[in-house]
Amino acid sequence: MSSLTESKFITLKKPKETIEDFQGCGINSLLTLLQHIEPNHQISADDCKRIFDYDKDGISEQRYKFNNFNNLLKDNKISYKIYMGTFNSHQEILKFLNHPVPVYFSMKVINFIKDKFKYSQININFGDGKSLFENPNHHLLLLVGYEESGSKLYFVDPVYQLPYYSNKDLSTKEKLCVLDTKQFYECVKHIKSFMELRFHQKLEKSYKKEKKKNEKQSKLG
């Protein structure tokens, strides 16, 4: 693996739609990824809600849902696929930082970042926090940058920041959530998982080929 630079940031663009509900953290993360790689995409929050059984309770096969999401990307000629990735050290996920990286945390992480959730339009109330932060529930944060060779990590919360931030806010470092590596490991140590966005050159080639063919045909027509 190539050595890390001193710092790196990517500029996040707010997706066209976001879901203002905790259960929407996965979908908001995926919409943010799509916005980053394909700003003119036609995939809506409702498409994602349908695929991920947003309104349903209980549990179901997650891989099947991700397969369906990848099929949706294929239908929209987007040359990427999403996989569930794992890591051992934070350096491993920093190498993916050409786009935002959705990383899974325990809910405890909210304790470290909730001071950033201050808005004029809404107050966020987590109650006494006990039942929320002390349970082993998972939450996603979008890794958007790092400093000090990776010992200071910057994130955007897809549920408690993204819906309330402007593009300007998202590019203002002071507005982002910051974790040092100790805090980071404290909240990921029993999960160490992330959503991996993988580019598929083969797919891109075939989509380009198809596009050329269609253009040729329409000219002839």
């Binding site: 309104d55 891989r63 809404i122 107050n123 966020i124 109650g127 349970n135 529930n137 029993h190 999960i191």
Partner: protein, 294 residues
Amino acid sequence: MTIESDNRMENMMIEINRALLHNYGNNIVLSKLKESSLNEYNLELDYNKIFHIKDEKTKTLFVRNIKFNKIFGSKLKFNEKLELPLDEVNSAILSEYDQIKNNIIHRVLSRKELVLSLIKNTHISMAFMNKFYTLLNQLVINDIFYVHTIEELRSKNNNFDKYVNLILEEGFAELDSNNNLISTNKLKLLFKNKKEIKDTVDEALFILIKNHYDYIIYDLNIHTLKTYVNIVSCLVYLNEYMKLGDIKMKVQDFYRVYLTFYRKVDFDKFRERVNNLVYSNVIMSDNGAISLTV
């Protein structure tokens, strides 16, 4: 615990958490892992769903969770792949939800003022409830409901007997030798305590609904009552379980709470029902933000 077994435990935790997250999503979580014998572990899983409710009055987003402890437990060997029996886990989750639903419906049914405003003001159920009113009014005023009137009403409505039977079963009346319905001491005592005819009939009706809710819904086919009780029960849930009694929320936000507990209903239909409850003063609406009135 040795360092080796300590590491094994840590690895197991990571493997199980990943398996849960990657295969079954965010809401099922590992709550307990204990080594039971060499290379064998007991695990317990919780179901945990976090949701948001926005108070339009104070512009506050309340983050709360529904948690079901020990939704599934099993033994797992080190390096063994975790596979959950989806049907079994989902049925356990469903039964936890059913338990909450039963409790909150019970809470609604135990609140007399709420039940009476529901049935008095909801026009469809009112039509059905009129049969009870007719019977109980007569019994309180005249102490008797003559057999010829029963037969007359029976000829117009073939399930009128079921209403009579319920009143008999609750002990508000009994049959005399001529098959007239005569009021019992229980009803007379109620009247003595309440003093007013209207209050006595209301109290009797409340007792009938509280004690025979399922029968009234499923046998007398007054499903409309259930529809409205379900909606109100969600407000009671927010009030009593989540301690969010003072909030005023948008119907869309309330709809999401409703969907957590009950079968999916079209949003427009749901809004229409909420509006009916607003018109009947069970729910208060302030610029479209709703809260429980009673």
